[in-house]
Symmetry: C2
Subunit: 393 residues, 2 copies
């Protein structure tokens, strides 16, 4: 079964679970303003106003511009594909009137960006169109539908992510042999890109910052491209990187210590930093299980750092991974404003999370590790090969 058929089938079950009649994805010119839900609904871009309708009762109907009809038919996932020339209004009203849904779930959400693909202009258009048949008050947020669809990974999806994780782990191993004093962040990033090309894999996020590489103290720390800064003895080097396999991402971080002349083992502050991160990740992993909340795992990791005397990290402990490196709604995070209710969403089986605490070793750099885990029936298993020790250069 194709991914799209499988996910539409899954969506039908989720609609029933939430007692919602109908899920409507409403888009236009998707190269310009794409809805993240399209990844599970079509294999091509859609040009004109397009409606992809999945109903709990079973039928999946697509209404698209005439030139987009054949690509949507090719998915084999729709019971009916309607192609129009002049405008979508008539066909859309006819399809929705036939369904006569009590509620129409559409892709908007204040909480969760992956569920918020409907633009405000398109929302207004939809509202005005539905008013013609008295259905304008039926619109509700599809947040719970889209979240579940993205978060509950099918075995096929888990397998893709597992392969993306393995491929990234392998490249991390290779780059460990390449890093040495005198090499620049840009040179290290270039090495990683060559390894990716050789493995015929693309980056999991914006190639300007995938990989990102930071060597030594006083760097931008994150979300910044590699610079001409050179690796020096006494630096902690860290790298954030992931690849895509069949559209599914990995997202990992590793850190290395560059030994000074005569150092046989890492200095105490470096060793303490690495050990603390390893312990924080393992403490957090033990909190990740079905029914738990993300805030608990975040708190567990934060507590390990606090107990060891480190500042708390200024970001969430971990996020979900899927078609995007940052995916899903439930989040392993503190109750900060920018995270909304995400840290309180219940964790479910087959979700995939990162665990990525960080700390600063003064004068040496940032120690980060980012592992990935998949939620099982009773806990969470590592997908990555966890970094256990200081990696010495």
């Amino acid at each position: 079964m194709s991914l799209i058929k499988e996910k539409i089938e899954q969506a039908r079950g989720i609609l029933k679970e939430h007692e919602i009649d109908c899920w409507l994805t409403f888009v236009r010119e998707t190269q310009i303003t794409g809805d993240p839900s399209l990844q599970f609904l079509v294999n091509s871009d859609l040009t004109w106003h397009s409606a992809l309708i999945v109903s709990a009762s079973g039928r999946a109907v697509a209404i698209v511009g005439a030139y987009d009809k054949k690509s949507v038919e090719d998915t084999g996932a729709y019971d009916e594909v309607i192609g129009y020339v002049q405008g979508i209004r008539t066909d859309l009203l006819r399809a929705l009137a036939a369904l006569s849904p009590k509620s129409i779930a559409v892709n908007y959400s204040q909480e969760s960006e992956v569920c918020d693909g409907l633009t405000h202009g398109m929302f207004l258009t939809l509202q005005a169109t539905l008013a013609e048949i008295g259905l304008q008050d039926r619109l509700v947020s599809a947040e719970k539908i889209v979240s579940a669809l993205r978060q509950r990974k099918t075995p096929w999806e888990v397998e893709r992510i597992r392969r993306a994780v393995e491929a990234a782990d392998d490249i991390f191993d290779a780059v460990g042999d390449f890093i040495r004093p005198g090499r620049t962040e840009k040179e290290i990033a270039a090495f990683v890109k060559i390894e990716m090309d050789a493995a015929r894999l693309g980056p999991a996020w914006d190639p300007r910052v995938c990989p990102s590489v930071f060597t030594g103290p006083d760097t931008a720390e994150a979300h910044y491209g590699p610079t001409d800064r050179k690796v020096e003895p006494g630096h902690v080097v860290n790298m954030d990187f992931g690849v895509k396999v069949d559209g599914y991402c990995s997202d990992l971080q590793r850190s290395w210590y560059v030994r000074r002349e005569g150092e046989a083992s890492p200095p105490d502050d470096v060793k303490a930093g690495f050990d603390t991160i390893v312990r924080a990740i393992e403490a957090a992993r033990r909190c990740v299980k079905p029914g738990a909340k993300g805030i608990e795992a975040d708190q567990a990791a934060r507590q390990v750092l606090a107990d060891a005397g480190y500042q708390e990290f200024p970001h969430a402990l971990g996020h979900q991974v899927g078609r995007f490196a940052h995916d899903g709604s439930a989040l392993l995070a503190p109750s900060w404003e920018k995270y909304g209710k995400k840290p309180l969403e219940p964790i479910e089986e087959s979700m995939i999370f990162t665990l990525e605490p960080r700390l600063t070793v003064p004068g040496k750099g940032i120690v980060t590790m980012e592992e990935m885990v998949v939620v099982t029936r009773t806990g969470a298993d590592y997908l990555s090969r966890p970094q256990q020790n200081v990696r010495m250069i």
Copy 2:
């Protein structure tokens, strides 16, 4: 001056022209739900809730998550870049209260997808946040601001597009020597991709359909990937293709006739089809000038086809080109529902349009040509080298 500085400077002028105090682009996780206006505002993705504020009085302020601060500062285009850790609310309210704008233009539009980057969820968040300082009723559509910013190309932008057009025209010339009976649509597309790689250029749109190649009768006609269908004598072959130069697109179409054994010149129906398209394009170009409306050029081309006895084409005559292959708001189109008011928007100097009528030669294929023109003070000049004749294979 960098592109971003130049466009923000241009935006200030447009705000004054429309007597709007303040333009606010409000986004989060822009790898997931990006706003098309970001292309003119930042060089990097933004992770957490971010506000990019340009005010008519002059100041440009960015409020972003702490890790995104340095990338935004690097643009050199903002008077102030504020980085936050826990949430955007306090800084956003402070910045807007200080401006105390009579109106706050935000990126939503029913008419124009390039002006409709604000998601409905983010609109609701903004409305709720502004309600705290009584400004929730100040929100207006930024359609006129964003349209003008995208449509009025600076000389730097026109030059990039001119180069993208030349590069695509060159590749069209090369592929004309490659097409021959027995070659498949996929092989022809592969040849084009190799030429693009050699020129170190990327495709102007989704690589699955850039180029798209159609040979002979009864194809999908448009928006569909190349197939294993083989070129045969008596086919009309057409191709739709463009490249990007520094992020700016070209979008052209060319058609060829594959001669049958013994044919020295194309058959009459093919010749008539090509001639009609050439005449339609030139008739339309003469209607494109400042102050005219797009519907006039569309009508002129449509009339040439109707007078010659052809069916009308089921799409707009032409669209604008910019950062996207389909860009801008004003459109050369009929007054069909799906085009809204776009065909009535006035044409302005320095807009760039395609002209792309099509017709079917029964039993042989689709004749299309797509030229690109730039609007001058008094008319429109070709950017492409217009196809004047039947290109024979």
